[in-house]
């Protein structure tokens, strides 16, 4: 990691007020992303990956509330910043792409115009230049025949095309950080690889940091330098990719790796993770939220979680009895 991270999330806790009580969706989440780095947050559904991303972007649902913590980006704490300041940053210095690209674009606006909207908002260009720049962006995300495609509506394009359009919107103003929230969900496998290659390549060209949110550990391993493992709103482990795979220290990480298909493994070798996520609405949640599912549980596990730093730079495990 470089000296000053692009994004430093520290001690972030987020709650949701729902009809059935307060859900402690995130608790003391901390991680950093350095310049040009590609970091993955992995975990099963409901582990708080997307909530983390939405909180950083400041587009959390109205029911969500930041309880504590900070997210420093370019010297500014995003969680304390005013909405007007955030709006200047979003789309220009920090962008986000989403899953299910076909519904994540405005269905009744031409895709070229949607790119131009962002350019006009942040790019400091005139109304006349915007359409031309939008077509340039389409060419950059390798859309064939960009002049014609700029005039298309999302329903006329394939899912992969729509995701390229989203990437074009996100990268239009050359941001320093891209958050990709399961960018390949809903796409077929060959398109998935093409989209990920495109993100990695354009990121490297611009020296852009990328936060990849995924449940696909294989994808995280292939593209990311660093992996953050989340479980039930906690960061349970983080480490450089190679170290994490060679030597997982949290029992959950080990289980997650065992549950990921590999070319060498046979189907019978894949192991599912027993149990479910704990109910986060409960008033008393165990200190280690994995303990109910954990086979290495010790009486000590009821005490507040330790943060054990690893030998590798930037590695950490939150466990009393690591592997």
């Amino acid at each position: 990691m470089s000296a000053v991270p692009v994004l430093a999330v520290d001690n972030l806790s987020v709650e949701f007020r729902t009809r059935s009580g307060i859900v402690k969706a995130l608790e003391q989440v901390s991680f950093n992303i350095g310049k040009g780095e590609m970091v993955a947050i992995v975990g099963e559904s409901g582990s708080g990956k997307s909530v983390t991303a939405y909180t950083v972007m400041g587009i959390l649902d109205a029911a969500g509330r930041v309880d504590s913590g900070s997210a420093v980006f370019g010297g500014l704490d995003l969680l304390q910043a005013r909405e007007s300041a955030l709006r200047e940053i979003r789309g220009r210095e920090m962008s986000m792409i989403f899953q299910n690209p076909r519904v994540a674009l405005n269905p009744i606006r031409r895709v070229g115009d949607q790119i131009a909207d962002v350019l006009l908002q942040h790019g400091g260009i005139t109304r006349r230049e915007a359409p031309k720049r939008a077509i340039e962006m389409l060419a950059r995300v390798r859309i064939p025949d960009p002049e014609r495609r700029a005039r298309a509506y999302p329903f006329e394009l394939s899912g992969g095309m729509c995701q390229r359009i989203m990437i074009a919107i996100a990268l239009a103003c050359s941001p320093r950080l891209l958050i990709a929230d399961e960018p390949t969900t809903g796409l077929d496998v060959t398109t998935q690889a093409a989209i990920m290659d495109l993100i990695a390549e354009l990121g490297a060209e611009q020296g852009m940091a990328t936060l990849l949110i995924t449940h696909d550990l294989g994808m995280a391993a292939e593209y990311c330098d660093h992996i953050v493992v989340m479980h039930a709103g906690h960061v349970v482990e983080m480490a450089p990719t190679a170290a994490l795979f060679a030597n997982p220290r949290h029992p959950y990480t080990a289980r997650l790796i065992a549950a990921t298909p590999r070319p060498t493994a046979r189907l019978a070798d894949l192991v599912s993770i027993p149990g479910n996520l704990p109910d986060l609405r409960a008033t008393v949640i165990p200190a280690c939220r994995y303990s109910v599912r954990c086979e290495r549980r010790k009486p000590r596990c009821e005490q507040p979680l330790p943060l054990v730093l690893g030998d590798e730079k930037g590695s950490m495990v939150a466990c009393w009895n690591p592997l």
Partner: protein
């Protein structure tokens, strides 16, 4: 898009033919013998037979249909017995009165309901959201003729602020020269602001009654549609791209929310045509609603036939306009099916 609109216009032709056939069958199926009615209570059977022949009612139904269609093609809708006037003339002079009322009512209602719904949706739980809920609940539970009567009682009878509910213009003014048939617009064309004000004053109460009636479904639909669109994925994308709130609400969300609102608008307009009949009665409005009621009471069949035909054509035109609006707003129309 133009070819799509053209196709839609052509597809309206079968509806028009259907309307012609149904109107014909319906008036022939009405109980009562028009010939006996025309002849009067003291007529001899020969006299009735004579009249039946002169009205062409002795012919077979297909023959009558041919006569009916060729009359229609010449713009002949028959004569009213009550007034002796050709039905076409009556409708041509009365339709603008009804349309002026209905369209203005709809316009006022849209101008209030749509912003109200948008504001309520963008500020859920706020004062304006609660106000929206109260107004929509009150609006649906009050029929337009009742609100009309209430308005007349309070604003004319009690307070004397509104002019007497007696037609389109106070008797002290003469109607402006007919250009569009809408008194307000014709007065403006003439540059006669006094008549314009007088015509507007007469419109005030019935338009308010109609607007209150249609406000509820429109505001409610706008609010619901806006809420749904504002929660959709592409709005989240727009926010993440740092677009300003105004652009997101009006540029992105509003246009998408317009689709269900336009559908409701069409429905509301057809309710309004129905509600109009009673409201016109309350305000002695010389529109086609009053005309139809009077004809119905007098079993005057030519005006009824003319009224049903006019209304049916209005509905067909209305649906056509709504569908064309759809094509203009939503590029997906015409591709999905």
């Amino acid at each position: 898009m133009l070819s799509l609109i053209g196709k839609r216009i052509i597809s309206a032709i079968p509806s028009v033919i259907g309307v012609l056939v149904v109107t014909f069958v319906l008036t022939r199926a009405l109980p009562g013998d028009p010939a006996a009615y025309f002849a009067g209570p003291a007529a001899t059977p020969q006299a009735i037979e004579e009249i039946r022949r002169s009205l062409g009612l002795d012919k077979s139904l297909p023959e009558q249909f041919v006569v009916y269609i060729s009359d229609l093609a010449r713009g002949d809708l028959g004569n009213s017995i009550a007034t002796g006037q050709p039905v076409l003339t009556e409708i041509v002079t009365r339709l603008p009165a009804s349309l002026e009322l209905t369209l203005l009512g709809l316009l006022v209602s849209v101008l209030i309901a749509v912003p109200l719904g948008v504001l309520a949706a963008t500020r859920p739980g706020s004062l304006i959201d609660h106000a929206c809920r109260v107004i929509t609940t009150a609006g649906v539970s009050l029929p337009a003729f009742f609100t009309g009567l209430l308005l007349v009682y309070v604003l004319y009878y009690r307070l004397g602020w509104a002019p007497a509910p007696l037609g389109r213009l106070d008797i002290f003014y003469s109607a402006p020269n007919t250009v569009t048939g809408f008194y307000t617009i014709d007065a403006l064309i003439e540059g006669n602001f006094e008549v314009f004000r007088a015509a507007l004053a007469q419109l005030l109460l019935p338009v308010t009654a109609l607007a209150i009636f249609t406000l509820a479904p429109l505001a409610r639909m706008t609010r619901a549609a806006m809420l749904e669109v504002l929660n959709s994925d592409f709005i989240r994308t727009a926010r993440a791209a740092g677009l300003p709130k105004g652009k997101i609400v009006y540029g992105y969300a509003f246009r998408n929310a317009m689709l269900p609102v336009v559908t409701t608008l069409g429905m509301v307009f057809s309710f309004l045509l129905g509600a109009n009949v009673l409201v016109e009665k309350v305000f002695s409005w010389p529109g086609i609603g009053t005309f139809a009621i009077e004809a119905l009471i007098a079993s005057d069949y030519a005006p009824i036939q003319g009224f049903v035909l006019t209304m049916a054509m209005l509905y067909v035109t209305l649906n056509l306009v709504i569908d064309i609006l759809y094509i203009v707003i939503d590029p997906r129309v015409g591709f999905e099916s």
